[in-house]
């Protein structure tokens, strides 16, 4: 039988979502719990042996006690061998007095299957006669320049028997942007040279590998189980990983999330663009989607009214809609002809500006200025 692992990370229980209205915020907060519950159910349904949280189970080291208790309750539902929780940079472990872990330990005292691996020391399990060694690399702080994985290469040599799995939290060069190298940056080469069958990683909130399933990967980035910001546009991610002997033999992406974030950046220049945009929005799962529109462009007045109406309707159906729209009155040759007499200053000015692709809004702004000047 293969060893079966569900790998999640960046759950950020306790994330406040304070930029959203109360109703939306409550939905988002509740969804983070619900998605963990669904992931545990998936793991149980597939008879997983391990449920691994590779960092940032919590959003900070000062999460409310109720949230911790609730999380422990959900994780306690796992029926496999063990839930393995490794502190990440947001819920870093500085010692036994670290508030979040002290509370988590207290809350999970009765749950024999939950193991907090808060120190860099090998933890071994026996599953159906097979030995599995986990090499946890917890974060000691929110930021850190030194990778936490350096000790693993030597430790794997002392644990040559059985399956070896690394667990770490931090950026991986090439996967996430960490120009200042302040989030325990790891290199792919260092990960691959450490002597484990694979690494279960967390931090960047988007999954890696980028494909849905496969047979081999030197490391996995869980991606958050439920999207938590507009930067996170997947459906919520976790990995199902099967290992036989000393290696990964199959993996598959799980999607426990139910809320999505979508940002649509679009330049609107004609009525058709609005139609396309609205159709694209309608294709989304509106009641479960936080939509952010970044619209620019130039539209006729009636088109703008149509767009406004369309967005208003989206507002009624989507979980939340925000927009940063800069739409100008569209001015084109027909509009100029319709509005300005031939040969006049206005007609000549706007016609010339219309041909200037470098300043696409100049003609529109000139038109608005002329209207303003005429009304002055």
């Amino acid at each position: 039988m293969p060893i079966r692992i569900v790998h999640t990370a960046d759950n950020h229980i306790g994330l406040p979502f304070k930029q959203y209205p109360t109703e939306v915020r409550n939905r988002l907060v509740a969804e983070r719990f619900a998605a963990i519950g669904r992931l545990v159910e998936m793991a149980n349904a597939r008879e997983a042996d391990f449920f691994v949280v590779a960092g940032d189970l919590f959003d900070s080291t000062r999460v409310k006690a109720d949230d911790i208790t609730k999380t422990v309750g959900l994780l306690s539902g796992f029926t496999g061998t063990a839930v393995i929780v490794v502190p990440g940079n947001h819920d870093h472990f500085t010692g036994p007095e670290t508030e979040v872990w002290k509370r988590f330990r207290d809350a999970s005292a009765a749950a024999s299957t939950i193991d907090i691996l808060a120190t860099p020391a090998v933890k071994s399990y026996e599953v159906d006669g097979q030995t599995v060694h986990f090499f946890p690399c917890p974060c000691p702080s929110k930021t850190g320049r030194e990778p936490t994985i350096d000790w693993v290469a030597a430790a794997t040599r002392d644990h040559a028997d059985g399956l070896r799995i690394g667990i770490a939290h931090g950026n991986v060069t090439g996967l996430g942007l960490d120009a200042a190298a302040q989030y325990f940056n790891m290199t792919p080469a260092a990960l691959e040279a450490s002597g484990v069958a694979t690494w279960l990683l967390g931090h960047i909130h988007v999954p890696f590998p980028t494909f849905e399933s496969g047979t081999q990967s030197p490391y996995f980035m869980a991606g958050t189980h439920s999207p938590d910001s507009i930067r996170c546009r997947h459906a919520g991610s976790a990995w199902w990983i099967e290992c036989e002997g000393h290696q990964v033999t199959r993996f598959e992406r799980l999607s426990p999330g139910r809320i999505r974030f979508a940002r649509i950046e679009r330049e609107l220049l004609a009525a058709d663009d609005i139609t396309t945009l609205l159709a694209e929005c309608r294709a989304l799962d509106a009641p479960a989607t936080i939509l952010d529109l970044q619209l620019s462009g130039r539209l006729a007045k009636d088109e703008q009214a149509s767009l406004d109406e369309g967005i208003r309707r989206l507002d009624d159906t989507f979980l939340h809609v925000s927009h940063e729209n800069v739409i100008h009155d569209r001015i084109d040759a027909a509009k100029i002809a319709e509005t300005y007499r031939s040969g006049g200053l206005a007609e000549r000015l706007i016609t010339a500006l219309l041909a200037d692709a470098e300043h696409p809004d100049a003609a529109t702004l000139a038109h608005e200025l002329i209207e303003e000047a005429s009304q002055a």
Partner: protein
């Protein structure tokens, strides 16, 4: 373009109605509500409104013209003539929209293509038609109002037109420029676009740490907002890092406190017992050491005294033995020294004998004195000199004779000899002189100038003297004389040497003293050999020394013990007492709990415990400080997260980019405005005022003259009375308005190709002016088509019939 017909089928109130427009001046007349405006709008829409409208635009543009109560489309067919070709334009809006433009041979069906083709034929924009070429009552009214209300405030006809049409048909450059400048200022104020940074003040940056307070433009405001957000992001990140640092410190201190707490908790209770243990552990070895020392003294004291006593008995015997041995050693030394004296005396005797023999040998040898040897050497020298002189005078002789002849020859001083000379020559040499005698002839030949005889005489004398000297010495030659002299000198030297050797052996003492010494030595007794004596001497000496040392040691011990313990009895008592103390100490130590591993003594343990308590206390103080620091940092952080601020910074950056782009767009507009201003002159309204004046003069029958301020009518002068526009009568204003409209139309339709539409423009005119205006319109119609809408029959009559006008 000239319109020839129009059909509305349906459009507005018309289900299907047609008008023939194929005349230069078309007068459409009828009472109000008959549909003149509908017809006018149908023509306008046919020409300018495309059929591919969005529902909204359809509702706005065509909605009012859909037949009531529930018509879903409107349609217009317009025929016209353009460049000698007849065209048919069909348009249908709403349900089944369609556009078609055909000249009978070709046809366009695409709405945009149709509009494009129409725009080419119309030559002027929709706005030009709407605002210049199509004049309704409303436009005329507005023109009149504009002239009146803005008298003195309008700079040129463009303003007038704009004001009159209530539309942005054009704009006043100055107004636009003023507004644009304000916008540019509002955008760029305090912003250095070249550096893309805030303007400096006295060379100083005015970034977010030192921001401008006033006159901040949109770009700078957005930039400040962005930079503030970035700074906030970094500040939060810094606080987060600081939290990490302090958090790690807290963890380290907590760990240290835990370690010390564990130690103190585990061992703190033992503190009292372990303090006693510390003292006892120190005392026990001290007692043990003291008891051991007493025991040693107790057993050693009598033994030491016995050893001292025994030594005192043995010591004289050993000392006596040692004395004898030393005497034997002295004798042995004397005998060994005497053996050398005897050997020396033997050598002295032998040397003495050799010396005496040598002395005797010297006396026996004969020897010439040095003076004799000198004389012999002088004679030898003289003889050699004479012989050399003669050898230097050597003569050669040769005798030849035909017949053998005996010849006596004397060579030098030698006796004559006889040789026979014959044909074979006889020859030889002689020194100094040669004398030949033969046949009574004597031939003497001598060499050199001086006398040879003296040389020969000296030579002979010296040879004789030498022989005599040698004979006196008893030798045959001078060499022999020198040899015996040499031998004699050697004998003398040898005798002297032997004498010195002898004297040396005596070592300064007379021979007789040596002889007496040898006699004394012979009297010393015989001894063992020196090595045997020395061995025994060493053994006995060692025995004496060790006995003495041991006795001294015992004596010292007794002195020490006496000093410490007084006497053996007192020592016994003390020993008993000290042993009791030691036993009690050991028993107490057994009763006290043991030490933890890692501590050698209880004292060390107590010190460690005290240290741990002190360290815990110090660490707790430090922890309090660190926790306060962390709390302050956490408070500073609040619920801010660097990740959230990063998103806000991104949004602020987007806003800055937008503000910047907008500002640059304003700059671009201004640049284009400047360019256009520099190249203006193509405006059809440029020569407008002349036309207006002409039209106005004709309408008013030259009774009034129009004065202009720039291009705008400023005053009307009638019979020396100057009236500003606002003081004109309604008729006067109407005349001016019509003149303005017609002048504008004429300016645009200068080439005659095109048409105008007028909606009852003459309602305020009296008969005279009506007539003049009609005349002007008819004349206008000879160049460009005029479509005139009116609800006044007499207007229609006068326009359509010159006779009627004549009657009027």
């Amino acid at each position: 373009m000239k319109l020839t017909s129009v059909r509305l089928c349906p459009f507005g109130r018309f289900t299907d109605a047609s008008w023939d427009l194929a005349k230069p001046l078309v007068v459409v007349h009828g009472p109000n509500e008959i549909g003149k405006s509908t017809l006018r709008q149908a023509i306008v829409h046919a020409l300018f409104t495309p059929t591919n409208l969005t529902p909204k635009r359809l509702a706005l543009a065509i909605g009012p013209w859909l037949p009531l109560p529930a018509g879903d489309y409107a349609a217009v067919t317009l025929t016209f003539e353009h460049s000698g070709t007849a065209w048919t334009l069909e348009k249908r809006w709403g349900a089944g929209p369609a556009s078609r433009l055909s000249d009978g041979t070709t046809s366009l069906g695409d709405p945009e293509a149709v509009q494009k083709r129409l725009a080419n034929m119309l030559e002027h924009s929709e706005a030009t038609f709407r605002h210049v070429l199509f004049t309704g009552q409303a436009e005329l009214e507005r023109t009149i109002d504009a002239i009146k209300e803005n008298a003195g405030g309008l700079r040129d006809i463009r303003d007038l037109l704009g004001a009159a049409a209530s539309a942005g048909a054009d704009v006043d450059e100055q107004k636009l420029r003023t507004l644009l400048d304000a916008k540019v200022r509002a955008a760029f104020s305090r912003w250095d676009d070249e550096r893309e940074r805030p303007e400096r003040q006295n060379g100083q940056e005015r970034g977010i740490s030192n921001p401008w307070k006033k006159e901040i433009g949109d770009i700078l405001a957005a930039w400040y907002d962005w930079q503030a957000s970035e700074a906030e992001h970094h500040a939060i990140l810094d606080v987060e890092k600081e939290c990490d640092r302090v958090g790690l410190d807290v963890a380290v201190i907590e760990e240290a406190i835990r370690e010390r707490e564990t130690f103190v908790t585990k061992h703190g209770g033992l503190r009292g017992d372990l303090a006693e243990r510390g003292q006892l552990e120190e005392r026990e070895p001290r007692l043990a050491q003291s008891v051991a020392a007493m025991k040693e003294a107790f057993s050693g004291w009598p033994k030491a005294q016995a050893e001292i006593d025994a030594w005192q008995k043995r010591k004289p015997e050993i000392e006596s033995q040692l004395k004898k041995l030393r005497q034997e050693r002295t004798d042995a030394d004397a005998r060994r020294a005497g053996a050398a004296t005897s050997a020396s005396f033997d050598r002295i005797k032998q040397a003495k004998q050799v010396s005496e023999v040598a002395e005797k040998e010297v006396g026996k040898l004969a020897h010439p004195g040095d003076d004799v040897l000198n004389e012999i050497a002088g004679l030898e020298k003289e003889i050699a000199r004479a012989e050399n002189q003669l050898a230097a005078r050597t003569l050669s002789w040769r005798i030849e004779s035909e017949n053998p002849e005996a010849v006596a020859i004397e060579r030098g001083n030698d006796a004559a000899e006889t040789v026979t000379a014959g044909p074979e020559a006889a020859s030889g040499t002689a020194q100094g002189r040669v004398r030949l005698r033969t046949a009574g002839v004597t031939l003497t030949v001598e060499s050199g100038a001086d006398a040879v005889d003296a040389i020969f005489a000296s030579l002979a004398s010296n040879r004789t003297a030498l022989s005599e000297k040698l004979a006196a010495c008893g030798v045959a030659s001078a060499e022999d004389a020198r040899t015996i002299a040499h031998k004699h000198r050697e004998s003398v030297t040898s005798a002297a040497t032997q004498k010195k050797i002898y004297d040396g052996f005596l070592l300064g003492k007379p021979f007789e003293e040596w002889a007496e010494q040898v006699m004394v030595l012979a009297a010393i007794p015989a001894t063992r050999d020196l090595a045997a004596i020395d061995d025994e001497l060493a053994t006995v000496g060692q025995r004496l020394a060790s006995g003495e040392a041991e006795a001294a040691q015992s004596d010292e011990a007794i002195v020490r013990w006496t000093k410490h313990y007084a006497d053996p009895d007192a020592l016994g008592e003390q020993l008993l007492e000290e042993q009791g103390e030691l036993k009690k100490t050991a028993e107490r130590l057994k009763a006290i709990p043991g030490l933890s591993a890692g501590f050698a003594t209880a004292k060390a343990f107590v010190e460690a415990l005290d240290g741990a308590i002190a360290q815990r206390s110090a660490a707790e103080k430090q922890l309090t400080g660190k926790r306060e620091e962390l709390a302050t940092l956490t408070e500073r952080l609040g619920d801010r997260r660097s990740e959230d601020e990063d998103e806000r910074a991104e949004a602020a950056q987007r806003a800055f980019v937008r503000a910047h782009a907008k500002g640059r767009a304003y700059l671009r507009i201004r640049a284009e405005l400047d360019r256009i201003a520099a190249t203006s002159g193509n405006d059809p309204l440029a020569a407008f005022s002349v036309k207006v004046a002409d039209m106005f003069s004709r309408i008013t029958g030259a009774a009034a003259v129009l004065e202009f301020d720039g291009q705008v009518p400023a005053n009307v002068v009638r019979e020396a009375v100057t009236l500003p526009p606002e003081r004109l009568s309604q008729g006067g204003s109407g005349a001016l308005a019509l003149a303005v409209r017609l002048a504008m139309a004429e300016a645009y339709l200068a080439d005659g190709d095109g048409f105008i539409m007028l909606d009852d423009p003459l309602v305020h005119f009296d008969a005279t002016r009506m007539s003049a205006a009609a005349d002007i319109l008819r004349r206008f119609a000879t160049r460009s088509q005029v479509i005139y809408f009116t609800c006044h029959d007499h207007h229609a009559d006068r326009l359509e019939s010159p006779a009627a006008q004549q009657r009027a």
